[in-house]
């Protein structure tokens, strides 16, 4: 067994993180099999019903089964966050490579745009964009992607610049590899480690951002099950049925905890500059 893998297997908190994410991903994938009933099935007779043998988490203000909504909510939340992160990565890789490899005026312009976005609190700008586009989950995802790529693009550009000078890139060029092939095969492969750490930690942040905007009513719209929106739905019943807000709240916290633990563990593994056990937080940009 390679050494890093052994070290990873001996890190209990990273394993816990991985376990949480695996369970959440399984819940998301298997929601139709696991859920006792459809997440949007309204049954006014069971309005605010307490948990019982068949419906473990009880029913919400419209009599919908809370367990089913939490399970399907994993789908919405994880799916939306994953998709958003993919879009962010596509933008960031394109911009980063273009800026780093092309250089010159293009580099200056793209990085000025990135700095502009980095100079501003992402959530506020995302809020303004989402508010402009109108409330919907897709709009919120677009808004988050539009403000989030800048940090990655800067990182990738920096790495492209440093890798570009190295011997193996020259060697690749000498044997006739094209620019694009060099970038994809040699540059991207070399920045994979740090990227994996960043992406894992950012998944937690993006989930928080998307759920926060959905909580405000800007993201996911009823009756779609989404944890942030469920939290907001539960607010009027804080006194009579606090569980309506506790379950989705716990779900958000658990998943974010999972990504934080795993991200920290991966950083220990992949980033040799970590100091003394519980790691310095990532510096923005």
């Amino acid at each position: 067994m390679p050494q890093p893998l052994q070290r990873f297997l001996r890190d209990p908190s990273a394993l816990l993180g991985l376990a949480i994410i695996t369970v959440a991903a399984a819940a998301a994938l298997l929601a139709p099999l696991l859920a006792p009933q459809g997440p949007t099935l309204v049954d006014l007779e069971r309005r605010l019903a307490s948990p019982d043998r068949h419906f473990w988490l009880g029913a919400d203000h419209l009599g919908r089964d809370v367990l089913s909504r939490v399970l399907y909510g994993a789908r919405t939340t994880l799916g939306a966050a994953g998709l958003t992160l993919s879009v962010i990565m596509v933008i960031a890789v394109l911009v980063g490579i273009l800026a780093g490899y092309h250089g010159g005026w293009l580099d200056t312009m793209l990085m000025a745009l990135a700095d502009l976005l980095l100079a501003f609190p992402a959530l506020v700008l995302a809020l303004a964009i989402a508010g402009t586009l109108g409330p919907s989950l897709l709009n919120v995802m677009m808004a988050v992607a539009l403000v989030w790529w800048a940090g990655y693009a800067r990182l990738i550009r920096g790495m492209v610049l440093s890798v570009r000078q190295r011997e193996f890139v020259e060697a690749a060029r000498a044997v006739g590899a094209g620019d694009w092939r060099i970038m994809v095969h040699h540059v991207l492969r070399n920045i994979l480690g740090p990227m994996v750490v960043l992406v894992t930690l950012d998944m937690g942040l993006i989930i928080l951002g998307l759920s926060g905007l959905s909580f405000l009513g800007l993201g996911s719209q009823p009756p779609t099950p989404e944890w942030g929106a469920m939290l907001n739905d539960g607010r009027p019943f804080l006194q009579s049925a606090p569980r309506l807000m506790l379950y989705p709240g716990a779900a958000i916290c658990l998943v974010v905890l999972g990504f934080n633990l795993l991200g920290d563990g991966l950083r220990d593994l992949l980033d040799p500059t970590v100091v003394h056990g519980w790691k310095s937080p990532r510096r923005p940009g």
């Binding site: 809020l127 303004a128 942030g228 519980w278």
Partner: protein, 315 residues
Amino acid sequence: MHNYLARRLLTVPLLLLGISLITFTLLNLAPGDPADILLRLQNPGVEPPREAVLAFRRELGLDDPLWTRYSRWLGQALMGDLGVSYRTGGPIVSELAQRLPATLLLAGASLGLAVLLGIPLGILAAVFKGSPMDGMARLLALAGATVPSYVLSLLLILAFAVTLHWLPAIGYGGIRHLVMPAVALSAGLAAQLMRLSRASLLETLTQDYMRTARAKGLRERTVVLRHGFKNALLPVVTITGIGMGHLLGGAVIVETIFGWPGVGKYAVDAIFLRDYPVVQAVVLYLAVIFLLVNFGVDVVYRWLDPRLDFAGRAG
């Protein structure tokens, strides 16, 4: 140094120009005709006739090209006129000014709380590394990074307002109203500051000058606080500055939950009512505050570490 700071100060208007151009363009792409919205507001319940809308559009200058409208808006903004709210018809500048104290109070209290909790706990965790104290601090830092402000807000309301009846659940007034929103808003930043001051102090403690200070026979407390912490403070200052911006962003959610009559709630209400001039103004206002705070951080940074030569740093 002055050269660097002067140049840095010059970039502030440029960044503001960029931010305002982006938001202005976005808001102008948004669906909904402002002339139509305004006419409906002026005559509630009446469907505005098509000709009236078109005439009003001309009067407001909405048919001009985007560039003309942007320069007009910019000219007015520079004169301190951010336009009129679609909803209330009142000038946005005074509406904003009315809500500013509440937000500044909340953000200031949260920042103070985060600094007073996060930094000392981080120092203690570093000094007693590996002790139960360190373990506790680690747990707190993880919790702060994991539990979002909106979940924490609801948990606080559930515990201290609904169950214990110690604090009012929502509203604005005395210190009792401030406690829960400030705690909810500060938790994330406090956790970040704790992690960072711990890591930064640990890194500093291994430096040669620390050994020198000890060899000189200084007391351990003096070594850690005077020599260690002052040097460990640099990254902490940066994160505090950035954290301030995030506090203002997070305030949007926390203010909405607690019914806190600040700028954040103003923005959210405006978004739902499609009151675009207000959204534009709030974004601009947040950008100004954020950039000024960042500039302030740079000044403090420079004062803390005179060795730094900013000439080679891009920004």
